[in-house]
């Protein structure tokens, strides 16, 4: 038992430390949060929700993402409060203000939470620790998860009241705890649900043990547990009352959320999350989700374990702490999956468990720190090793920890989490003008800034950043978080993006804002045209003939529920604040304040030594490793590492660094390298690909030289591509260098070449009017015609193939689709993928192929009618589809044909992706397949590239189904096939034909 002076001193010091912590929190987080939030994962998503409430407080239907979703899918309090602040301040500042306020509330919560365990002085230290705790710093500055912090702040504030209520049965504490828990529920449901298990239950156990001092003295495996059950029985009224009211409030306060999750359950393919990885295999996930938030906990694990198991009152916390620590380890061991079950494991993000473990550990860490800095541990250490060594170890540990925290603050700089900031004003202006808002848009390569763009416009995107709410089958059927970052999600991501780009009409998707040229080839070959490069460097891609947004029937919600959602959460917050005021001014003064009297006076030597050294060792090792990885790693220690490092720099376009791996010498300078690169490199692989895999095999290895075979696999938006090359290396001064490749430059004979382009200009509206269309200004739909249209069956799958022509005198864009009507009166729509010219010069023709997949020819889903519908529109400027193409059949069998082909570039810009459209005809000249073939390297102006094209023939197995007539419509009017005269020339009898289909990155036509 402490004497009264000690208690008073502890209380005085505790409050002062709390004030210091609050001030420190304000100074550090308050200053930095505005600058870190653009780099966080979630801040912009929460700002988008806040923007929703700011605009439509009582309307939960948010139409701007995923063709519409309900915002009742996320508890609203944090968002509503940010929305309220945003009525005065700009949204980003409002978010920052809210984040600071909630962090201050969290510091207060941790102070009050720690008081349940130890003295006020310890609580004060805990409050200061909260300011610099890595898990909290990461949650705010790396994740931007303010609702999580809100939920935690109020939960921690609720726990002391609950503790007092269970201990004293005073109903006023019950009311206070319920008020705070209600706020938790209204701000973050996951914290509320798991908080019941990991925080509320241990707090109750602690109160029960503290309520009966005799209980704590019993043997844990003897009479303690039965006695605890008896104690629970004695307090059954209090416990049941609390539990029932809490459940009632949890259901009532966010009833629309529960209603939504029952009536519209999430049924989507699980989206991979780094927190479920095996951290030993995926070390980057381990770093972000386990090491950074928990390094201090691991460093002080001996002390925490000692304190948390020392007394019976901590038993609940011990269970919670170790279970959370285990669950937070993700897929490193099979235990979390076994404990949570397959479904929960694949839905939950497991880093939150590690986060909660770090919160539970705070009181124990603080208590040890108090002892270490000025308590029993210090006395022991100073007595044994002197004051100086204690000062040194304290200083070094503290300093290395602070450096570690600074590292977390700047984590986004070391490991970019988001693309560079995009100025959104030019995009907003684009959406606002000419009624562009009447169609949906899609962003590519924006990262979470897509949510920030959405917050600033009323235009709708097909994508979104809250995957729990989406219901579009193209999204829920694949493990794709967002279309926006599809390239990082491998085949599934690109397949999903491909779906949306192809079926743009289905979702009235007309504009793509691209911040990453990786997607350019896919966009181009899916029929998208570049229309304008905005001032911020963003390229706008557009698809012609897309209908304006069709109204989507919002999911109906009872008006009373809407009102509840808009009023209850805020009301409960105001009630909690009012009750706190009453408590502070009238109630707290008359009550004995919560002061835990537990004091651990001595620690085992193992705990003292390990907990004294571990922090310094771990933090400094971590920092040294990071510095080593960034600056000191020997990237040229052997031939394979040298090649890996060289390719790594090439992949991130760090050419000056990639050059350093070449053998140094006056004959090969950086200038020469860059020059050779600029004239020899270009095309799909060098410009639009991401390195996926590198396989390096040693062909020859001596002490001073090596010859390596490098097999690289690249991801491109048109699918994976592979490349094989042999590299020679030399060893000089213990470092391996790559011998520069010998580039045999092809140089055109001409010094200057010229090419005559015909550029067109669509004049647009000639009457200045804000009306969408002035009738007099309407331009007629260009003429087009079908030469042939065939329904082809190949290997059980159907496809529509054919040929069509731009019969007009202007360049046009085409939108083609097939509508199939089944016997049961249902319909399905199909679109061409990449086997089609979506733009045609005047009088140009193209082949087309629309995959219909497996279709039944009998039964209820029997096809009864096929309609091939073509829409034409005037192209913005014009179109070039490729260079001079020559080809010659070299070998042919029944199933394949090999052509030697070459393409010459007569233009003034490079042909970035040389490509050809291939068609195969049957003996009657009917097209049975159309395919796209691309070459990975560009062709510079005036030059020619040769390549071999292999075609898999299918005419022997393909069957043309004549029994189903194909109804043709062009611009809504029925049309017949155009007659195409046949000629005797062998030229036109060829079974396999080619047409150029190339991507020219130079914005001549912006095609």
């Amino acid at each position: 038992m402490k004497n009264q002076d000690q208690v008073l001193w502890s209380e005085f010091l505790g409050k002062r430390l709390l004030l210091v912590a609050l001030s420190l929190g304000l100074l550090t987080h308050g200053i930095i949060v505005y600058f870190t939030l653009p780099q966080t994962y979630d801040a912009y998503v929460h700002m988008f929700f806040a923007d929703h409430y700011s605009r439509f407080w009582f309307e939960p239907w948010e139409y701007r993402w995923y063709t519409g979703f309900l915002t009742i899918s996320y508890p609203p309090l944090a968002h509503q409060l940010i929305a309220l602040i945003s009525k005065i301040f700009p949204l980003k500042i409002a978010f920052s203000i809210y984040a600071i306020l909630i962090f201050e509330a969290l510091i207060l919560g941790i102070y009050r939470f720690t008081k349940m365990f130890y003295s006020k002085q310890t609580a004060g230290v805990a409050a200061i620790l909260a300011v610099v705790l890595s898990s909290l710093v990461e949650t705010l500055h790396v994740y931007g998860q303010v609702p999580t912090l809100t939920g935690l702040a109020f939960l921690l504030n609720a726990l002391p009241f609950l503790y007092q209520y269970i201990k004293t049965s005073d109903w006023r504490y019950l009311l206070m705890s319920l008020a705070f828990i209600s706020v938790t529920v209204s701000s973050h449901h996951v914290t509320a649900i798991f908080g019941m298990v990991f925080f509320i239950a241990p707090a109750m156990v602690m109160a029960l043990v503290d309520g009966n001092p005799e209980l704590g003295k019993k043997n844990l495996f003897g009479r303690f547990l039965p006695a605890l059950v008896v104690e629970v029985w004695k307090k059954k009224k209090e416990i049941l009352l609390f539990v029932f009211i809490t459940i009632f409030l949890t259901i009532t306060l966010i009833f629309p959320y529960w209603y939504w999750s029952r009536t519209d359950p999430i049924s989507q393919v699980s989206i991979p999350h780094g927190s479920r990885d095996n951290f030993l295999e995926v070390t980057s996930s381990g770093l972000v989700f386990y090491v950074i938030p928990l390094l201090l906990i691991f460093a002080l694990l001996p002390a925490i374990s000692y304190l948390i198991t020392k007394k019976k009152r901590h038993i609940g916390w011990a269970v919670s702490f170790y279970v959370c620590l285990l669950l937070g380890s993700g897929g490193t061991t099979p235990l979390p999956k076994l404990m949570l079950g397959e479904t929960a494991f694949n839905i939950l993000t497991l880093d939150r468990f590690g986060f909660w473990a770090s919160i539970i550990a705070i009181p124990y860490i603080s208590h040890f720190l108090v002892a270490f800095i000025g308590g029993s541990v210090k006395k022991f250490w100073a007595g044994k090793h002197g004051e100086t060594s204690h000062f040194l170890i304290s200083g070094l540990s503290g300093f290395s920890y602070l450096l570690f925290i600074i590292y977390i603050f700047h984590l986004a700089s070391f490991r970019p989490l988001q693309p560079k900031a995009v100025e959104i004003e030019p995009i907003i202006n684009f959406l606002n003008r000419d009624d562009h808002m009447r169609w949906r848009f899609l962003t590519l390569g924006f990262g979470d800034q897509m949510a920030w763009l959405s917050s600033n416009t009323l235009a709708a995107t097909i994508d979104g950043n809250y995957h729990s709410a989406r219901r579009l089958p193209e999204m829920t059927s694949r493990a794709v978080e967002r279309l926006e970052n599809a390239k990082y999600l491998m085949e599934e991501g690109m397949a999903s993006l491909d779906d949306f780009l192809t079926k743009a009409e289905k979702y009235q998707l007309k504009y793509v804002f691209s911040n990453d040229r990786y997607y350019d080839p896919l966009l181009f070959y899916s029929g998208w045209n570049r229309t304008i490069r905005l001032e911020n460097g963003i390229m706008v891609w557009e698809k012609g003939n897309i209908s304006t947004i069709k109204p989507v029937q919002p999911t109906e919600l009872n008006p009373i529920l809407k009102k509840m959602w808009g009023t209850l959460p805020l009301s409960i917050l105001f009630i909690a604040i009012a009750m706190t005021m009453i408590y502070l001014f009238y109630f707290k003064k008359s009550q004995e304040e919560l002061i835990a009297e537990e004091e651990v006076s001595s620690y085992p030597k193992f705990v003292i030594y390990s907990s004294a050294w571990f922090p310094f060792v771990l933090f400094s090792s971590f920092l040294v490793y990071q510095i080593y990885e960034m600056l000191l790693i020997d990237e040229q220690k052997d031939p394979a590492t040298t090649i890996y490092s060289h390719f790594n720099d090439l992949d991130f376009q760090r050419f000056d660094e990639a050059f350093l791996f070449f053998k140094p010498g006056p004959e090969y300078s950086l200038d020469q390298y860059l020059l050779e690169k600029s004239v020899s490199d270009g095309g799909l692989l060098p410009s639009f690909a991401k390195l996926d895999k590198l396989q390096i095999d040693t062909l020859k290895l001596t002490e001073t030289s090596a010859q390596m075979n490098v097999h690289s696999t690249w991801r491109t938006s048109l699918g994976p591509r592979e490349k094989e090359e042999v590299m020679n290396l030399e060893r000089i001064d213990n470092k391996w260098y790559i011998n520069p490749p010998k580039v045999e430059l092809e140089i055109p004979e001409e010094q200057v070449i010229s090419y005559t382009y015909t550029l067109f200009k669509k004049m647009g509206k000639r009457k200045v009017s804000s009306f969408p269309t002035v009738k007099d200004d309407r331009i007629k739909k260009p003429f087009a015609g079908f030469y042939q249209a065939n329904l082809v069956q190949v290997n059980g799958e159907l496809r529509l193939t054919g040929e069509l022509i731009n019969a007009d005198n202007i360049p046009i864009t085409l939108a083609l689709k097939a509508v199939i009507r089944y016997d049961n009166d249902s319909t399905a729509t199909f679109f061409p993928k990449k086997n089609f010219h979506f733009n045609l010069a005047p009088k140009a023709s193209t082949w087309f192929q629309l995959p219909l997949g497996s279709q039944e020819l009998e039964g209820e889903k029997k096809i009864i009618a096929i309609s091939l519908e073509l829409e034409t529109d005037i192209s913005e400027r014009g179109y070039i589809r490729g260079g001079e193409l020559s080809y010659e059949l070299r070998a042919e069998t029944n199933n394949s044909a090999v052509f030697e082909a070459s393409m010459k570039n007569p233009f003034t810009g490079e042909i970035t992706i040389p490509g050809v459209l291939i068609s195969e005809k049957d003996s009657l000249g009917r097209i049975v397949q159309v395919d796209l073939w691309t070459y990975p390297k560009s062709i510079r102006p005036g030059l020619e590239s040769s390549f071999q094209i292999s075609v898999q023939k299918i005419s022997s197995t393909a069957k043309i189904l004549d029994q189903l007539p194909i109804n043709l419509t062009i611009n809504g009017q029925e049309r017949e096939l155009l007659l195409k005269p046949t000629t005797e020339s062998a030229l036109f009898q060829e079974k396999i034909s080619f047409l150029p289909h190339c991507f020219l990155a130079q914005e001549i036509y912006l095609q």
């Binding site: 015909t758 001079e884 155009l978």
Partner: protein, 274 residues
């Protein structure tokens, strides 16, 4: 006490209902269509504080009210942008209001003749007889009679098969006819060799349609070069009715050349081997 309260309530109700109900004004000169600034609506109504408002399809108008002995006159003054058609006149006195459906007609103003037809652009491949529908409207966009009894007048215009832009009778740029060239009639091919530079120039043209109009600039022409199994395709565009292609002599010698525009092919041209 109870009686006092009871009587008080009875008294309150009795005196509370004393105010006389406002009677609906009677429209004396009922008309189906009212002309703005010309017709006056006369209502028989007891002297009250009447206010009038007119709800039209696009705006709310406050007509002028003149009160005379037992009558009120409602005069609708011209307001910019009145859309003709159904409207509702509301007469309001205190909390009572009465609605009269009317049909509104603008006073006659100078109107502009416009035409409504499709297509405005045609090629000489299609029919040169085009339908024209004329109509006129006042500055507010209300249709006005073109003839004595018709709002629309139909005309058939036979255009000459000559390319160009032709102004219609309304004389505005946005109502012009655009006649474009049709499909090329034939593709004459010729070549010239430049032995000094070892180049050959292949010329397709003059490329005209069946009415001798030059075919459109930018039209795609495809040159096919063929020799045995070798096939070369070169795309070019027509400029001023010619398409000219220059290439090294060895790429053309000994090959058959056929030019193609849409479904029209040239006669094969063979470049002799030197």
């Amino acid at each position: 006490m109870i009686r006092v309260i009871l009587f008080s309530f009875v008294g309150l109700f009795a005196f509370g209902c004393v105010e006389k109900a406002v009677e609906k004004p009677v429209w004396l000169n009922t008309k189906s269509t009212l002309k703005v600034n010309q017709d006056t609506l006369v209502f028989e109504a007891e002297a009250q504080d009447w206010k009038a408002s007119l709800s039209t399809a696009v705006q709310l108008i406050y007509p002028e009210i003149v009160k005379t002995d037992g009558k009120i006159l409602v005069i609708i003054r011209p307001v910019k942008g009145i859309i003709e058609g159904n409207a509702f006149l509301t007469l309001k006195s205190g909390t009572s209001q009465f609605v009269y459906p009317i049909s509104l007609k603008n006073q006659e103003e100078a109107s502009q003749l416009a035409d409504l037809r499709s297509p405005k652009t045609l090629t000489t491949d299609s029919s040169m007889v085009q339908q024209q529908i004329l109509y006129s409207s006042d500055p507010s966009g209300n249709l006005t009679l073109v003839n004595q009894d018709a709002y629309f007048v139909e005309k058939n215009i036979e255009l000459l098969p000559k390319t160009g832009t032709f102004k219609s009778i309304t004389g505005t740029a946005r109502s012009s006819f655009y006649v474009d060239a049709g499909t090329v009639r034939e593709i004459p091919l010729s070549y010239s060799k430049d032995s000094h530079n070892q180049e050959i120039t292949i010329q397709a043209g003059p490329l005209v349609d069946r009415f001798d109009n030059k075919i459109a600039n930018g039209t795609l022409i495809l040159f096919h070069f063929q020799k045995d199994q070798q096939h070369k395709k070169v795309e070019a565009v027509v400029q001023d009715s010619f398409a000219i292609l220059s290439l090294p002599l060895d790429e053309a010698e000994g090959k058959n050349i056929i030019a193609q525009i849409a479904q029209i092919y040239s006669q094969p041209l063979t470049i002799p081997q030197q």
